[in-house]
Symmetry: C2
């Protein structure tokens, strides 16, 4: 999917430029400024930039008004910085010390705290991580509020981003909640709802719809971008679950038992759990609480096989795919390019192996 | 200082209206939506609204362009919601379970976690508190991006808020850092710098300058608003330190040993510490780390008396006051009302007893 990432370099350039400007403005204010800029830039640049990339990708598929490339990459860079903020805060919530192969932001501050000999390095790290995320939020706002485009357009972009990020926050609350309560209290529909709002709307609908706003697309077209974004996101997230259980660690880059080890409530696990009774269900809950190794993994995968869980999920995936096709086939001929582009994006997500 | 708070009811009405609109839009999304709105509204309404109130207060003192009262109270409500967000995150960092006389937001979620029987209620509460703060940030952005005013003006307001909130985040990092390292690593200038940026710019310069932006005031006038805001904020914060050590608990509403108990690095403590040596300095550090009761308090206050610390701080206060007077006396006659208003605001801060 090279088209998707064709503007990656420019987006990265923008992230670097904006964080550097931050330093020029605020470097004198705090002894933390320059270190924060280094850490934030490094962190933001380590991502795949799928959200940022979807802005120029979708923009290129749409007819309509022209805005400057500078404005497009500003929106993309702002989304990537917001994504960094969310990950920084998420890592604190999940107590993950690694992110994108390196230390998470709060883990870096935690290490500083250890070096300084503070009383509670973990709390020191979390506190500075919360601040770092907050600073990133306002940096992203600053970028959008300063972009070169029609003032009214900028305000629409801002309103859209604010609404979607409120949704993300609410979904994240649900996610934190699901992560801490036992499986009996989470249903399959709850999981799909989180996928729809947290991944679907946020990772796909948001950048795709922003491209629609930039182009001045009709309300109908923007509705279609939102709706297909949600569905592509659900597919993306189910694929993530699939790769987490059945993927090849060499291509995914992570062990195929890490989701079980983390007790992640994936669609696979939830469908299986709904079919199990008594002792088997108890054992599954125990594994999700306290994973003991390959024998547990084998037991889960065998049961999934017996109950045909992969087939059920595959059927769901095809159902979502069909929904997308139905929406896209209703598109008028003027946006044939959009239809093809979104089909390609869907195919890519359906078939990805990493 | 009744004039300052004369628009309190309208600001509170705006906060309630905007959080209610949030619920109408996002109520269906998450089981957390309606509870969050209740908690956030309740939390935001419990404040004194000094930041919000300074917007209409300063606006009324300035000549210039008229904007709708609706726009003015939108900016005020947004500032108050941002303030709530900062307090929600601060309380997590400070591990304060009480705020404004009631449970802090993360403490409410912590209690929910206990009721639900989650493994780690404290972490559950902190995680949901981080999310709640993030949602509040985007709600504030949404309010500003939607206010009824000239598009270009709104963008200036947004840029200004984003810059100042980045400053707050950086100062908060410094504050967390100061709170966790021992006194020998914090200087008097560091403390004043935190007061300038965290209280001064944020609590005073920001709302005052926003009023200047709304009025379309000249660059010079806005510089004066920023500068006097910083100085009034330093005075405000030093007064806070004074009341925390020497205030009457009946008017301040908090015990006059709570700052010592918390080991707060106030200007008083820092000036004293700089003058102490060996055993006395060690004892002071011990008290700040582990306060043992009235005998400690008496020891500190006696030493402050011996070294004339209150007199030194009083001299500093007068110096800041003089700086403000010098700035205000340079103001042209057209803004005589502004001069009088800011003098009154300064007097109020110099003499407040709660």
């Amino acid at each position: 999917m090279n088209e998707l990432y064709s503007r990656k370099d420019e987006i990265e350039g923008k992230i670097t430029r904006h964080t550097r400007e931050f330093l020029e403005k605020f470097g004198h204010v705090s002894s933390f400024s320059s270190q924060l800029v280094t850490r934030l830039t490094d962190f933001a640049l380590r991502g795949k930039h799928i959200r940022g990339s979807l802005v120029p990708f979708t923009y290129a598929l749409l007819p309509g008004r022209e805005v400057s490339f500078d404005a497009i990459t500003d929106v993309a860079a702002a989304l990537e910085i917001l994504q960094s903020m969310l990950l920084i805060h998420d890592d604190i919530m999940d107590q993950d010390e690694l992110r994108r192969g390196k230390a998470a932001i709060h883990a870096l501050y935690m290490n500083d705290g250890r070096t300084l000999g503070v009383t509670d390095p973990a709390h020191y790290g979390e506190s500075l991580g919360i601040c770092a995320g907050d600073v990133a939020t306002f940096l992203a706002m600053r970028i959008v509020a300063s972009m070169e485009a029609d003032d009214g357009l900028v305000r629409s972009v801002e309103r859209f981003i604010a609404d979607e990020l409120m949704l993300v926050g609410l979904s994240q609350m649900q996610d934190v909640h699901h992560g801490q309560i036992d499986g009996s209290m989470v249903g399959y529909d709850d999981i799909i709802r989180t996928y729809r709002y947290k991944t679907g709307r946020y990772t796909f609908s948001l950048p795709m719809s922003l491209a629609g706003l930039l182009r001045g697309s009709s309300h109908d077209i923007r509705q279609i971008l939102e709706k297909t974004g949600e569905l592509i996101g659900i597919i993306f997230q189910i694929k993530d679950d699939e790769l987490g259980l059945f993927g090849n660690p060499e291509s995914t880059g992570k062990p195929n038992d890490s989701d079980l080890r983390e007790g992640k409530k994936t669609v696979y696990v939830q469908l299986l759990r709904d079919l199990l009774k008594d002792e088997q269900r108890k054992k599954l809950d125990r594994i999700l609480q306290e994973y003991r190794g390959p024998a547990d993994q084998e037991w889960v995968l065998d049961l999934m096989n017996t109950h045909g869980i992969r087939e059920q999920v595959e059927a769901d995936l095809l159902r979502y795919r069909k929904e997308i096709d139905d929406i896209l086939s209703s598109l008028p001929e003027e946006v044939a390019e959009l239809r093809q582009g979104l089909e390609k994006l869907t195919d890519y997500n359906m078939s990805r192996s990493r």
